[in-house]
């Protein structure tokens, strides 16, 4: 809910029209779901919500800013168009921009800070990114919901395997 409110605030700041908002709604919805699922997964791994959110923010920032930190290397290596398109397809901004037909690499800020806007590229279609993110949501949800694997009991231990995961970790 907080993330959705933040999105609406961003939309207000950038003056996005209701039509643009409607076009972006499926992408934003899937993105918010994926972020929630990742937060849940990271929490299980990190052990605390604060650490999980830190990981999530770092991962999101790194993924969204690939044109800035990876762009110069790509521009220098001059790979084929497919490689550039693949990198862009993995960027969450491509997913968000696909629904609104926004060319974010040529936006003022990105054009000044990334050389990718001067290369030939194609964004993945809205249908492709929606499919990809739907798959990512399902996989992440499954991973987050998957019960922790119980520690194997010693072969000579007669006691039954604990059913409560907390009990398993108890000293």
């Amino acid at each position: 809910l907080i993330a959705a409110l933040m999105w609406l605030a961003v939309a207000g700041v950038f003056g996005l029209t209701s039509r643009t908002l409607a076009g972006a709604a499926p992408s934003v919805g899937l993105m918010l779901y994926l972020l929630g699922a990742l937060a849940w997964l990271f929490r299980r791994i990190a052990g605390s919500l604060a650490a999980a959110l830190s990981w999530l923010m770092l991962a999101s920032a790194l993924a969204a800013s690939t044109p800035v930190w990876l762009g110069p290397l790509i521009a220098r290596l001059e790979p084929d168009r497919g490689t550039i398109n693949l990198m862009l397809a993995g960027n969450p901004l491509t997913h968000l921009a696909a629904g609104t037909a926004t060319d974010y690499l040529r936006s003022d800020w990105f054009y000044r800070h990334s050389p990718l806007g001067g290369l030939r590229y194609d964004y993945a279609s809205s249908a492709t990114t929606l499919t990809g993110y739907l798959a990512a949501c399902l996989l992440t949800s499954a991973a987050a919901r998957r019960p922790r694997r119980a520690r194997r009991a010693p072969a000579d231990q007669a006691s039954p395997r604990p059913t409560n995961p907390r009990q398993e970790n108890a000293p």
Binding site: G15, A75, A101, T102, D103, R106, P115, G118, L119, R120
Partner: protein
């Protein structure tokens, strides 16, 4: 002593005559060089015919296809649609990409550029069947201009500009492409689009005399956007300065206009065809050759006198450089940088042939 004074007086009396002669002289190319240029353009066009896709397109792009088509249609051989599928198929490819909003593009993020070069090519066919498509595309290009319709006040630095079409971030390159298209397709000279564009172009120029923004440089040249150049800060460079000069002329400024004079003075001070002056690593080199040829042709001077006083015949210099860079298969490509698509030989070849067409055009 007296004799020396006489000689000096005689020499000085000749100077204005020589200057006037230089200003009005018709382009004269050495016969041997003229033959080489024609053969070079033919070789370039032959390369393009061999690299053309079955559907008539080049590089799977409306923009590259339109430029290659233009290279044929504006060539001295006078190709027309009657010459066969190598002309009619690319025309059909362009027409197949006409969208409901009037744009002509295969993507949503190069719509200005693609539409602009497409209507220049369609206009060059002289086929009246395309008039409505061209008119609709003109309206589309005009609609991309950043103005009151998008909530921009005339005092805003982006006012009057045109961008790629996927955002509202305008730049001089896209403005020049759009203005060239609107000019080539005979848009009404009284249309407000010209005045608004002139406002934007003036604000891109590094010229404190005429630019009401705080400009980083003051050398008369042009960067890419107001206060920004991909080659560092707001550095002026050759490609954009020629594009700026051409845009000023298209938008109605005359040769005596201080903005035009400042741009031309930058070209004189930085005259070279060995590189794209002011640009990093030869980025945008063939874009520079193409727009340099068009801007010098539009400016109408047969020679450029650089800051040291050396007179350069720009046609000879440009043709010699392009002949030197042409590959054995007839193509050109930027070997130093792929930026701005210059790793694509179809694009560089189309630009080079168009430049050569301007070199030999009367």
């Amino acid at each position: 002593m007296r004799f020396k004074h006489l000689i000096a007086a005689f020499s000085l009396s000749l100077l204005p005559v020589a200057g006037a002669a230089a200003e009005t002289a018709a382009p004269v190319l050495d016969d041997a060089l003229a033959s080489k240029i024609k053969r070079s353009a033919d070789d370039g066009l032959r390369y393009l015919r061999e690299s053309q896709a079955e559907d008539g397109s080049w590089s799977d792009s409306v923009g590259v296809t339109a430029l290659a088509l233009r290279a044929f249609l504006e060539n001295r051989r006078g190709y027309t649609e009657e010459d066969g599928p190598f002309i009619t198929n690319p025309v059909k490819f362009l027409l197949d990409h006409v969208n409901e909003d009037g744009s002509i593009s295969e993507t949503n993020h190069n719509r200005n550029y693609n539409t602009a070069v497409a209507i220049v090519a369609l206009q060059a066919t002289n086929n009246p069947e395309y008039v409505d498509i061209i008119k609709h595309a003109q309206q589309f290009l005009k609609g991309l201009q950043v103005d009151e319709g998008e909530g921009y006040d005339p005092s805003h630095k982006y006012y009057g500009g045109i961008g790629y079409g996927g955002d509202e971030r305008p730049d001089l390159s896209n403005v020049y492409m759009a203005l060239e298209a609107l000019k080539a397709t005979d848009l009404d000279p009284e249309d407000p689009v010209w005045g608004k564009a002139l406002t934007f172009v003036t604000r891109v120029q590094n010229n404190s005399e005429t630019n009401d923004l705080d400009v980083a440089g003051n050398d008369g040249g042009f960067p890419y956007m107001p206060g920004y150049s991909p080659h560092g800060e707001a550095a002026s460079y050759g490609g954009m300065t020629s594009a700026g000069l051409l845009s000023l002329l298209f938008a109605g400024a005359d040769k005596d206009d201080p903005r035009v004079q400042a741009a031309y003075d930058w070209i004189r001070a930085n005259y070279t065809l060995d590189t794209n002056p002011g640009a990093k690593d030869d980025q945008g080199l063939f874009y520079y050759y193409n727009v340099f040829a068009k801007s010098m042709y539009a400016y109408g001077e047969p020679s450029v006198t650089d800051a040291a006083g050396t007179v350069h015949d720009w046609r000879t210099d440009l043709a010699t450089k392009l002949l030197e860079l042409q590959r054995s298969d007839g193509s050109w490509v930027n070997e130093s940088s792929k930026r701005w698509w210059e790793g694509d030989p179809n694009l560089c070849t189309a630009w080079s042939v168009i430049a050569l067409n301007h070199v030999i055009r009367k």
